[in-house]
């Protein structure tokens, strides 16, 4: 098996006459947390949707876990079975309780599993995501934003995936909640051996947990590498992003700990 669960070559995405991505190449290495950043409208979410097979690209090649996902006939079974997705606000099914939400992927993939085992596995994932069992019988509308994200994470982890996709996991959380979520992701990645594709705007997250950072811009990956390398990249947007006032604050905050 190759060491890159996600391989993208010459990807082209286009809406009408508006080209979002062109000649985009990207490799995600096994076992890393890759942070994806970029200004608004650079197509971060479009890229994620293309990798997940939720939209067909206009050109190029996307291989996830050794299988092509960029064709209408693509077999997405492996991808669905071995990846988990956390959408921005959790995207929990509002009519189901938290534990029922986590059971949904188990029920679809393992129809033969007994209800008790399924329930136990779901509870385990809920606890691994940092929620207490008391949250399990609640409806998503009864949870706070941070708890909804954790519940969404529990659902994403339900099938013990190798690949985890996160769309702005810390957006809308207070700094303490965001830091706790970062910590949780790091622990989970280390103990479960996850490969994480992480879209974020949060500089603190980038500094705290990302092994590599990819910057989207001008329809392609501008640069990719460790956060230090990326921050030194000579491009106006990158410089402003990593050396603006907020970036300095984030860097300063990291220094005492590292």
């Amino acid at each position: 098996m190759s060491d890159c669960p996600i391989v993208i070559r010459e990807l082209k995405n286009q809406f009408g006459s508006q080209v979002v991505h062109e000649q985009l190449d990207l490799d995600v290495r096994r076992g890393e947390i890759l942070g994806v950043v970029g200004g608004s409208g650079t197509g971060k979410s479009v890229l994620m949707r293309a990798i997940l097979g939720l939209r067909l690209p206009q050109g190029g090649r996307i291989e996830v876990l050794g299988q092509r996902v960029d064709r209408p006939s693509a077999d997405l079974e492996t991808l669905r079975r071995r990846s988990g997705v956390l959408f921005q606000d959790g995207a929990l099914f509002s009519s189901l309780t938290v534990v029922e939400n986590v059971e949904v992927p188990l029920k679809t993939q393992y129809p033969k599993m007994s209800a008790r085992l399924r329930h136990d596995l779901a509870l385990l994932k809920i606890r691994l995501a940092g929620l207490s069992a008391e949250a399990a019988p609640k409806l998503p509308s009864e949870l706070s934003g941070g708890m909804r994200k954790r519940a969404g994470l529990a659902r994403a982890l339900a099938l013990d995936p190798e690949l985890l996709f996160l769309d702005e996991p810390t957006a809308g959380l207070d700094p303490i909640g965001a830091a706790a979520f970062d910590e949780l992701l790091l622990t989970l990645k280390q103990s479960l051996g996850l490969t994480v594709f992480l879209i974020t705007h949060d500089l603190d997250t980038l500094y705290a947990i990302c092994d590599r950072v990819a910057v989207l811009g001008e329809k392609r990956i501008l640069t990719i590498g460790s956060i230090g390398e990326v921050a030194d990249f000579d491009h106006d947007w990158v410089q402003e992003y990593f050396h603006g006032p907020r970036a300095r604050a984030a860097q300063a905050a990291r220094r005492p700990r590292s």
Binding site: L121, S132, A133, T187, L188, Q190, S191, L192
Partner: protein, 371 residues
């Protein structure tokens, strides 16, 4: 990828020691669960270092096996790369014990549900009266002050609620007029009194059907639209923004909608009456052989002005109810998109119910005063 199947077997050299191997993954969870449940002592050690692949589900079952055989999880012999995972799962499992209880028995929940529904309907009525008061107070403040009028918004809502609904109201009234005539013809033919079909259609549409049909249609079409419009604004905090800017949301949002509906509903009701009479006429001419002139003169003879007024006098009342319920439910929307949907449903149900109840009360009232 095909993973080797999991193995659980006693060590050939030491029978009290279990040796585990193969893949312990969620894929094998069903098989493992059954195998774990079959294991029984006496076993005093578990060698799990032969496990090739392990995930959280497998780790949970491994810990369950240890628990079942009364072996301290810390004494599990694990492969190096699996330590972190098993520790994380063990921590998560012990983080809080005790299953959440499933709550009260179903009959108590049913009773509670009924109670809540009754309390809710009473609360709704009180809220509606309060909202009526607030709207009237605002109207009194706005009316003498032309600077506060919103003619553009009012005309816009007149178009949306009135003009755009005209084809639908006319079509449905026309068809129901025809159906009423058919019904009348079926019954009255036996008595040789076909001509009275005209009376039936005219009475029905002028007194009741014209305005009632219009009101029910607008309750479905307009009350829901009002709720959705105001509810969306509420959920995006636009209403709060208005208040902080010193604008009155009732004057800005409710008064124009109420005014528009107060003007348009009676007009639509007149069209509905005409369309119903036309529908009846079509059936009378086509199937009963009543000439058009006779139909019209019969309408003139049998109908007095008061019948028309009995119908039309209810129109502003219905308009008031529909606009108030629609707007009030909009203001009740919470933060989520789901609550917009719930409130919209509630607005339609409430306004249709109120319209029909008021219509019934009015019918009794007019009968008592002899109109």
């Amino acid at each position: 990828m095909s993973a080797s199947s999991p193995q659980i077997a006693a060590d050939p050299d030491r029978p009290e020691r279990l040796r585990l191997g193969g893949a312990w993954l969620v894929d094998q969870a069903v098989e493992l669960d059954a195998a774990v449940a079959r294991q029984r002592g006496p076993i005093n050690a578990i060698d799990a270092s032969g496990i090739t692949r392990l995930d959280a589900a497998g780790a949970m079952l491994l810990l369950r096996l240890a628990q079942r055989l009364e072996i301290n999880p810390e004494r599990l012999e694990l492969a190096e790369q699996h330590h972190a995972l098993v520790e994380a799962v063990a921590r998560a499992q012990t983080s809080d014990e005790g299953e959440p209880d499933l709550g009260e028995p179903s009959w108590r929940r049913l009773l509670a549900h009924v109670g809540r529904a009754v309390a809710d309907s009473w609360g709704n009525l009180v809220q509606l009266l309060a909202f009526l008061g607030q709207t009237l107070a605002t109207a009194v403040r706005v009316l003498p002050n032309p600077r506060l009028w919103r003619p553009t918004a009012t005309v816009h809502h007149m178009e949306q609620t009135g003009l755009d609904a005209l084809p639908l109201v006319a079509l449905l009234s026309f068809l129901i007029g025809a159906v009423v005539a058919f019904l009348g013809a079926t019954v009255l033919k036996d008595f040789g009194a076909e001509l009275f079909v005209v009376d039936l259609v005219a009475y029905a549409f002028l007194r009741e059907m014209g305005v009632l049909l219009t009101a029910i249609l607008l309750a479905g079409r307009t009350a829901s639209a009002f709720t959705a419009q105001i509810g969306t604004m509420k959920s995006r905090e636009e209403i709060d923004a208005m208040r902080t800017l010193g604008l009155d949301p009732v004057a800005l949002l409710v008064i124009p909608r109420l005014t528009a509906l107060l003007i348009m509903l009676p007009l639509l009701a007149v069209f509905a009456m005409l369309a119903g009479l036309l529908g009846g006429m079509l059936v009378a001419v086509m199937t009963l052989g009543i000439p058009v002139e006779l139909y019209i003169s019969r309408v003139y003879e049998s109908i007095e002005l008061r019948h028309y007024l009995v119908g039309l006098i209810k129109a502003p009342l219905f308009a008031l109810v529909i606009a108030l319920v629609g707007c009030m439910e909009g203001f009740k929307v919470g933060g989520t998109a789901q609550s917009v949907g719930e409130r919209t449903t509630s607005a339609v149900v409430q306004s249709i119910t109120l319209v029909i109840v008021i219509n019934a009360l009015a019918a009794v009232f007019f009968m008592e005063i002899g109109w």
